[in-house]
Symmetry: C2
Subunit: 466 residues, 2 copies
């Protein structure tokens, strides 16, 4: 039918890319260009509707921006199926309203998909539904102003992250999701198996259990790509990754997810904690400023108060040692245990610093992971840092990595990590790195109190229905 | 120690980002700027070493480029620990060699990490180790010219993907990895459980098994983010995702991985297959051209022959129906079964089309997924497409989505997908979309015959050691 004989009909077209721009205009660009008089076709969803005697007014949004385009529909056009929530294709001429606002005077109105609210549609026009209510309808919630604004911020933030690291010559790597080692030794990991019993049977070998039948070893979902990043960093320099990580914790707090995104970077030739702190502080300020530039309207919709750039982007972050933090908290009657700093204490430290993010450095060795570097002046401490911020407390964790082959060998938790040890044997370099929880950072940027509202399909205990 | 009292020492610095450029120069930029006479510090690894009577020459690479910087070391400097594979910090003055090549005349040489090749280092200088050999040393292979070139291409390709979709106004979304539905109904999925028996015990409820104890339902690793993307697309328009997907197949071919990256896009208001084909063809040509522009040297290192831009970027892709493909293959003695088109047949079709990628469209309904749209002129067929390319055969699969609530309801494989059906109930729009396997596409771009060489840490049956 539409098979073309390539041997007869080939025409060299020069390296010119085919025009695939949509034959309609996205509303973000219609509003930006504001070409009064232009005949324009837009597609989107009806967000508001007001019927007057001679005219119908609708506000249409297509997701490309938080703003809506006002459409004026003359009486002679059929508006029977036109309701809040319906999808429409509208052609008309751009003009200015009496108040000077851009609007489209419709010539054709086509309702593509109707929306009968009384048939179970959970949202209503001109209503600010609370986030907890919206969250019950994960499959429909991108249709709300609140949640679509958050998804646009998330989209921009990830783009700013890539731009930042590209400009600094970092290589983006995809570290694996499936792994046979548990980086943090935390214990709260998911394990995987093939679901198909026939596959399991076919692959079963003597002495193996179901957990190790597929890969020949028990296999988990990653909690961090750091160890893998270190391998690439020791061959190609600075690297970063932005991908999903997992925790099988039985926690339902406003700060925990079972699946979340982590930005991790590993910095080659990094030999002081100050160097690492500079990278983190610079990056966070860049991301805050850029996101406020690119998504001011969205941030305003999410939380009017938080849509102002915080004062700390102009200030130096605070640095204090773990021992200093302990002293400050002790004076406030918040005594630390050997478990470290809890959430209440984290937020108290940020408050103590006037809401400015604070690096807590030089942590007791036994509270931190095996791969962290011993402090030169105190072998009971490691060169680790937590960065504490308003709203969430800890947003970044990082450290210098133990660089000495012998010291690392003595601390290595398992022979399975011999490959990691061997990285120090040949052409070794000092490195340091950090991890930032993307969703927690979005909470800080947007002022969203529940982490479940920072990503499209949150997973937490008893919640994975889609 | 370095705690600053923020209440007294705050200085407003204006929104000026801290300088965190490294105090050394990446070699890509040294070679590009070629500032003869400049005193420069570089850090990297020794790739070649030639000792002459009065001078030592080393080639240093830091991963930022495939090229190496030649360093000339005068006799008076200590070069004892300097070997192939060692990491070095070198300061010196940029100058021109007698042959006009940029070189650094060393003033200080510091060997940071030694490399005793005889101590088990698997690579040798000036040796093109075969990919199968390199693949045995996953943790060290980014130190080879071959594999580091592939990682740089992968890095650029993902960046070009983001740039392409940003320029076309697509929203980047993170679809979930954990899901309670199996999109393709393929059966070959991984299931997950918490590893910690204490967690399992604490969360156990009557009537539940271990597979559903954590989420309250059996939970899998995703095989596609499409259904979730459709939900966002019906609230916010065009969307795309680039993330890991999983198959628990017992396959060890050169084209299969247990964990691989998939680019998936969903196009709002897409109502013809031709529209979808235009997007795919335009995008693939863009990505090919851009990658050849950004990584010409890397592509040359990977495979001299494949480093030439293929002729088909100038040509229209071929389109043929499934039935036409069947006829062509039948004439060549490659009869198709009801299972569809196998790998040999895919490659034969590409050969028939003179190596130009070919869309096979209008597939028998029973070979494809429930969500694909029935052809208007033939209810035994669906508006699906496979795009076949040289080297790998299928690289893209896509379709229009069944848009009719009633038709979709009749085909819905499970009540668990009622949320997906409900997307058609309120303000529905026509959509179409596709998935592209990132690793297979890298095989086509780079001319890499084994998919395991297109990503840092490949996972396949019996192989997940790191």
């Amino acid at each position: 039918m539409i098979y073309k004989n390539v041997f007869t009909s080939q025409i060299r077209r020069g390296i010119k890319l085919k025009q695939t721009l949509k034959n309609y205009s996205v509303i973000a660009s219609v509003l930006e260009k504001a070409n009064i008089g232009e005949v324009t076709e837009v597609k989107g969803w009806v967000k508001n509707l007001r019927k007057q005697k001679d005219l119908t007014f609708i506000d249409v949004n297509d997701g490309s921006t938080s703003q809506k385009l006002q459409i004026v529909i003359p009486k002679n056009l059929n508006t029977n199926d036109l309701t809040y929530g319906s999808s429409v294709l509208i052609t008309g001429k751009l003009s200015k309203s009496p108040k000077g606002q851009l609007e489209l005077v419709a010539e054709h109105v086509n309702v593509m998909g109707t929306c009968v609210v009384s048939d179970g549609y959970p949202f209503n026009p001109r209503t600010a539904h609370p986030p907890e209510y919206i969250r019950q309808f994960l499959h429909l919630r991108s249709r709300t102003n609140y949640f679509s604004a958050i998804l646009r911020v998330r989209n921009s933030l990830t783009r700013h992250i890539h731009n930042y690291f590209e400009s600094k010559n970092y290589l983006h790597v995809h570290t694996p999701i499936l792994t046979s080692n548990d980086c943090e030794g935390a214990g709260e990991v998911f394990k995987i198996q093939p679901d198909n019993e026939i596959t399991v049977k076919a692959m079963m070998q003597e002495g193996r259990d179901k957990d190790s039948v597929y890969f020949g070893t028990k296999t988990f979902l990653t909690v961090s790509g750091q160890l893998h990043q270190e391998a690439i960093c020791r061959g190609m320099g600075n690297v970063y990754t932005l991908g999903p990580t997992f925790r099988a914790e039985n926690s339902r707090s406003r700060l925990h997810l079972s699946e979340f995104y982590m930005l991790e970077a590993e910095i080659a030739f990094c030999d002081t904690l100050q160097n690492l702190q500079n990278v983190i502080e610079d990056m966070l300020k860049y991301l805050f400023i850029k996101t406020h530039e690119s998504n001011a309207n969205d941030l305003h919709i999410i939380d009017k108060e938080k849509s102002v750039l915080p004062l700390w982007v102009n200030k130096e972050f605070v640095t204090m040692t773990y021992n200093e933090a302990k002293g400050i908290l002790g004076k406030r009657g918040l005594d630390m245990t050997d478990e470290g700093i809890n959430k209440e204490q984290e937020l108290a430290l940020v408050e103590y610093c006037n809401g400015i993010p604070v690096f807590v450095i030089k942590w007791p060795k036994e509270q931190k992971s095996f791969y962290m570097k011993e402090c030169q002046d105190d072998n009971t401490k490691v060169d680790a840092l937590d960065l504490l911020a308003p709203i969430t407390g800890e947003v970044v964790g990082g450290s210098l990595r133990e660089n000495s082959y012998d010291k690392l060998k003595a601390k290595l938790p398992s022979d399975r990590l011999n490959w990691y040890l061997e990285l120090r044997k040949f052409g070794n370099i000092p490195t340091g790195g950090f991890g930032l929880g993307l969703e927690r950072f979005l909470q800080v940027i947007c002022g969203v109190s529940n982490i479940k509202d920072t990503l499209p399909f949150p997973r937490w205990p008893h919640n994975c229905d889609m």
